[in-house]
Chain length 248, copies 2
C-alpha cells in the first residue's frame, strides 16, 4: 500500500482551526472582532460546538481572546514577562505589588519546601501588572524565621503589613533561587484577580528563595497562559540584560 499519508480524514475542528488561523494572519488585524460564533458556525457549515473546539485551541495558543457578552477578538502577541532574573522579594526592582498579608498554615507541598513543620507562616498576596493589566498573582510564603525583625503579632494588617515583611526580607543576603514551571488551571480566586474565567489555563511558577543556608521564602505565582510568555534572561556575556529598573 505504500506510505499512508492520510489514512483518516482530519477532524473538522482541526481543519477549521487551520483555516481560521490563516485568516487571522491575512485578513484580520490585532483587536479586530470576529463574527459571532453562531454566524461563523453557519458560515463553515458546522455545529456551534465544533466551531468552539477550534476557537478554544486558538485561544489556548494566544491567537484569540474571547469575552462573554462582548465577542471574540484577535489577540495581540504575548507579552514577554521576565521571570529568570526576577529580583529578590522586597528588592527595589521587584515587579510585584503587595496587596495583603496574613498568617496561615501553608499547603503541605509548600510546607515541605520551607521545612517548617506545622508552623504558620506569613502569606503575602501580590499582583504583577503589565501596562496596568494583571498578568499574574502570587502567594508568597515567608516563615517567621526569615523575618526576625518583625514583631510577632503586629496589628498592622493588609498591604502595610505585607510591605513590612518584604522590607525585612530585603535585608537578608540572597544566595540564589530555584524555579519550576508547569501548566495549571486558574482557581476561582486567581481567575477573578486575573480577569479570566475559572479553569483558564495558567502557568504555575514555583520559586524557592535561598538565604543564609536556608529556604527564606517560597513563591507560587500564577501567570495568565494566554497573554504571557515567560522569559529567562541571558546568564552569559555579550547580551543585554534589562538595564536599571525604572521607578513606576
Amino acid at each position: 500500500m505504500g506510505i499512508r499519508l492520510q489514512t483518516v480524514p482530519e477532524p473538522k475542528y482541526r481543519h477549521l482551526k487551520t483555516v481560521i488561523g490563516e485568516a487571522l494572519d491575512h485578513e484580520f488585524r490585532v483587536g479586530e472582532v470576529l463574527p459571532n460564533e453562531r454566524e461563523l458556525a453557519a458560515r463553515f457549515g458546522v455545529a456551534r460546538a465544533t466551531l468552539r473546539q477550534a476557537l478554544e485551541q486558538l485561544e489556548l495558543e494566544g491567537r484569540l481572546q474571547r469575552r462573554r457578552g462582548v465577542g471574540t477578538t484577535v489577540a495581540p502577541p504575548r507579552v514577554g514577562v521576565e521571570v529568570g532574573s526576577e529580583n529578590w522579594p522586597g528588592a527595589p526592582c521587584d515587579p510585584w505589588q503587595a496587596r495583603d498579608a496574613h498568617r496561615a498554615l501553608p499547603p503541605t507541598a509548600v510546607a515541605e519546601l520551607l521545612g517548617t513543620g506545622d508552623e504558620p507562616v506569613h502569606v503575602l498576596t501580590r499582583v504583577r501588572l503589565d501596562e496596568a493589566l494583571p498578568v499574574a498573582t502570587e502567594l508568597l510564603y515567608v516563615p517567621a524565621a526569615s523575618v526576625p525583625g518583625l514583631s510577632a503579632i503586629d496589628a498592622a494588617g493588609g498591604a502595610a503589613r505585607a510591605r513590612a515583611v518584604l522590607r525585612e526580607l530585603g535585608h537578608l543576603g540572597p544566595e540564589g533561587e530555584d524555579r519550576a514551571v508547569e501548566l495549571g488551571s486558574a482557581g476561582a480566586e486567581d481567575a477573578r484577580r486575573l480577569d479570566r474565567l475559572p479553569g483558564s489555563p495558567v502557568l504555575l511558577v514555583t520559586t524557592r528563595f535561598f538565604a543564609e543556608g536556608a529556604t527564606a521564602a517560597v513563591s507560587v505565582a500564577t501567570y495568565r497562559a494566554d497573554t504571557c510568555r515567560l522569559t529567562f534572561g541571558a546568564d552569559g556575556a555579550g547580551v543585554e540584560i534589562a538595564p536599571a529598573c525604572q521607578a513606576s
Copy 2:
C-alpha cells in the same frame, strides 16, 4: 443585600471537577482506571459532554490520563525535567537524542533570532526521554557559520549528520543562553512523537545559545504539558545541583 457569596450557582462541570478531584486523592491510586465516561456521566446524572469538560480540566492539570480505546487512568505526579542548566548542545551531558538533520529555511521568527537572513540552516530533530518515555521534541536550528568545520554538503544524512553538527557545536565556547516558556498546542508531527493527540497542550521552550558574540543556535522545544514540570536549577550556593551526568 449584604455580601454576595454565591450569586450564581457553580457550573456543573466545575463542581464535578472538584468532586472527582477529591475522589482521586482519597479513593484511587496512581495508575488505577476510572469507570468509563458513559458510566461516570450516568452516575453523576449529567450528559457525557459535561462530564468530559470536567475530565478535560483534570487532564490539563496532570491528574488524569486518557487514552482512546483504553480508558481513563489516574496520572502519576509530573516528572521534573531540568531545563535551566540544560547543557550546551553536543556537550557530554546533553539530555537530547539526535534523530535527524537536514538543511532548510527556518521559520521567519527563528530567522530573526538567528540573524541569518534568507539563508538555509541546519535543522536537527531531537527527542528527550525520561524513563524511556518521550517528554519533549526539539527542532534545533544551527546556522552554517556556527559549524565551520562541517563540509558544506555532506552526503551523510539523518542521525549521523546530526551528530556531526553537534560535535562541531560542542567545540564552540559557550557564552550563555536565553530562554522563553509559553503555552502551545501540539502540531501533528510533535503529537505523534510525543504519543499524544494533535492539539494537546504543550510547553514551548525557545532557547537562544550564544557563543563568540553571536547566536550560535536556536532551539524550539515542545514539552508534554500533562506530564512535565520544567525545573530551573538553583544558581546560588548551598543547594545541590544535579551531580555528574551519567552515561546512558
